[in-house]
């Protein structure tokens, strides 16, 4: 069988196409429940994403080293989520909040250029965190 050569760009595009629905469709069915959003729930959510490594690594590269640790990414995501959550009923789901936060990011211009793709700041952080969590420790050249 002839091995296929896939460029980083096309691989990333493929990966993006598989995960771009993450905030719009897939996440909405992942987590439901009331109460404050905790880091452990975010970790569980990220681990359930099956976010392709190419996406996660590219998203990690979008942040300076000081902002690309598990704790700093987690804090940043939850800070945004918590702000949004306070104005919502307890039945709101984390996924929906993050999804809406992502759209709000676009509205407010909080976007990150990742390998040419214009992604929301929130989703970029989430993909980056997912990469760290899934691989345990990610070396970024």
């Amino acid at each position: 069988m002839t091995p296929q050569t896939i460029s980083r760009r096309s691989l990333f595009a493929t990966a993006i196409s598989g995960t771009v629905a993450w905030l719009g469709d897939y996440l909405s069915s992942v987590l439901t429940g009331a109460g404050p959003v905790y880091y452990s729930e975010l970790v569980a959510l990220c681990l359930s994403l099956r976010c392709p490594g190419t996406v996660g690594k590219a998203c990690l590269l979008a942040f300076p080293a000081s902002e690309s640790t598990q704790s700093s990414l987690g804090r940043a995501i939850l800070a945004d989520v918590e702000l949004a959550r306070r104005s919502r009923s307890v039945s709101d789901v984390l996924a929906q909040i993050i999804g809406e936060q992502s759209r709000t990011d676009f509205r407010d211009g909080r976007v990150v250029n990742v390998d040419g793709w214009i992604l929301s700041l929130t989703e970029t952080r989430v993909y980056a965190l997912a990469a760290l969590l899934v691989e345990g420790h990610v070396h970024v050249a």
Binding site: A13, I16, S17, V20, A21, G24, D25, G99, S102, R103, D105, F106, R107, G109, V111, D115, G116, W117, I118, L119, S120
Partner: protein, 522 residues
């Protein structure tokens, strides 16, 4: 009647009321308007009724600026002109294209779009289009079919009509039978003689490639030889070594514009089965007959004003899921379609994609879902800003008739790219904000134009229209500011070029000019 000018003896003087130079979309439209008038018209066409290489070669020229379209391929020099190979996309310019804008230099026309509407309406018939109605809802694209972000406030779904009518074959018979309109084929306008004071054309010298030369004496002359040749004939006329006819302010040939075409990037839809019915290319029953239209994405006028953006036309192609290939293969295996593919490759394709194909079939059966779309490949055509440094001039080399060839120095300004990049960034933000998907623009403010960038064949602006003689070559009636009996037809008079295809506007302006000239002659 139609006469081959090669049969006209050298030294002949043709007397007429109107001399129209060029039998393309503008020239033929003008000539038709005089068929039932009492005025005699001479219509001069450089070529014959069919393509001839030796005539086409008269278009030779040089490009010294940004890479320009091949001058001998982007235009056609025979009866019917470039309509002999055009795609037939028609739509009026947008109202905002006519508006003077403080945020875009040299922008705007001397009149609003509404002034041109009556002639646009008549131009629809000349171009064999449907009604003068470009509202998407009139073509079946109701607001509920257009998803965000293409339903405003920034981006909108727009309509163009399609009718690649060949003006030559379609209108030759009527002109052949017209008693007072005489068409001369193989007749090359060579020199507009404006005498010593240069304020009126006394005669036009005409040459053929066979060597005979004759003269036309007319009360009114109308240049209609295209966006580059209009400027060339003006610059080549008059005294040898001068700056041409009707050019006291060195404006003839300047402000050369085309539409800027480039791949815009890739959109990954958030859901592969989004409905794309609003992006259609269909034959549609409207006003009792079938007409063809395309829909595309554009900026709203409000967005252009608010964000200081130029106009743009956005289309896209679809990258379908591999399931599409498998579905096609299955059709062929089932002998539903017999062309293309091989049996073994088709079988392999179907087997490999069996699961997806089955799901697609079920979805199609149960829900009427379309083919899953992986990505949208965005293609853009942007407005070029008027730029006096972008110009047509004459070089030292001469064509077979002895006329100096053109030197095209097509130039852009930095804002051409930065405005286009801003629009694509806005598209990325809107696609994300509305949850439509994610966009990877190929053009950024500081980056180069994407691979595949080019200027198209819509050559405009070289005899631009302006009320002020210091800012325009022709006035609002398309009359040369400094030459009383010389008019210009065609896209060379466009002061701003929009992103919309120009032919309907060329025809509308020609109809308007015919009305004006008739009034002048009466």
């Amino acid at each position: 009647m139609i006469i081959d000018a090669r049969s006209i003896p050298t030294g002949t003087i043709l007397e007429t009321e109107v001399c129209i130079i060029g039998a393309g979309a503008a020239g033929i439209t003008l000539a038709r308007e005089f068929i039932h008038s009492p005025f005699r018209v001479v219509l001069l066409e450089s070529g014959g009724m069919e393509y001839e290489q030796e005539t086409q070669d008269l278009y030779e020229g040089q490009s010294i600026g940004q890479t320009f379209q091949d001058l001998t391929a982007s235009r056609l020099r025979y009866f019917g002109g470039t309509t002999n190979h055009w795609g037939g996309w028609c739509l009026p310019l947008d109202a905002i294209d006519f508006e003077p804008r403080d945020d875009l230099p040299s922008h705007g026309w001397p009149f609003p779009r509404s002034h041109l509407d009556p002639w646009y309406q008549r131009a629809q018939e000349v171009c064999q289009l449907g009604p003068y109605d470009y509202r998407p809802s009139s073509w079946g694209i109701t607001p509920d079919k257009v998803p965000p972000p293409f339903s405003g406030p920034d981006f909108e779904c727009k309509i163009l009509q399609e009718s690649p009518v060949r003006f030559g074959p379609v209108y030759a018979a009527a002109l052949r039978q017209a008693p007072r309109v005489t068409t001369y084929l193989h007749a090359n306008a060579f020199n507009l003689d404006a005498g010593e004071n240069g304020q009126e054309i006394n005669e036009l010298a005409v040459k053929t490639l066979s060597g005979n030369e004759f003269t036309v004496h007319a009360r009114i002359y109308i240049l209609a030889v295209g966006g580059i040749e209009n400027a060339r004939l003006l610059l080549a006329s008059g005294k040898e070594g001068g700056n041409g006819v009707g050019n006291p302010h060195d404006l003839v040939g300047r402000f050369l514009m085309v539409h800027l075409v480039y791949p815009g990037g890739i959109i990954i839809p958030s859901h592969p089965r989004l409905t794309f019915d609003f992006r259609s290319h269909l034959d549609y029953m409207i006003a009792g007959s079938k007409h063809s239209f395309w829909s595309f994405i554009g900026l709203s006028a409000d967005s252009m004003r608010r964000q200081h953006l130029a106009n743009i036309m956005i289309n896209w192609g679809y990258d379908f899921s591999p399931v599409k290939e498998a579905a096609d293969a299955l059709k062929r295996l089932a002998h539903l379609e017999r062309s293309g593919g091989s049996w073994s490759a088709d079988l392999s394709n179907v087997v490999r994609n069996f699961e997806g194909l089955a799901r697609f079939g079920i979805g199609k059966e149960l829900f009427g879902e379309g083919v899953p779309v992986n990505s949208l490949h965005v293609a853009c055509a942007s407005e070029q800003q008027p730029n006096p440094q972008s110009k047509v001039s004459l070089g030292p080399k001469r064509d077979r008739l002895g006329m100096r060839e053109v030197v095209v120095n097509w130039q852009l300004v930095p804002e051409d790219k930065s405005k286009a990049a801003e629009i694509l960034h806005l598209l990325a933000m809107e696609v994300g904000r509305t949850g439509f998907g994610r966009f990877r623009p190929l053009l950024t403010e500081n980056g180069p134009w994407p691979e595949g960038f080019y200027g198209d064949a819509h050559q405009m602006g070289t005899t631009r229209m302006h009320r002020d003689p210091k800012l325009g070559v022709v006035d609002e009636n398309c009359r040369m500011h400094s030459v009383a009996n010389l008019y210009v037809a065609g896209s060379s008079v466009f002061p701003t070029g929009s992103a919309n295809n120009p032919t309907l506007t060329i025809v509308a302006l020609a109809l308007r000019l015919a009305d004006h000239v008739k009034r002048q002659l009466t």
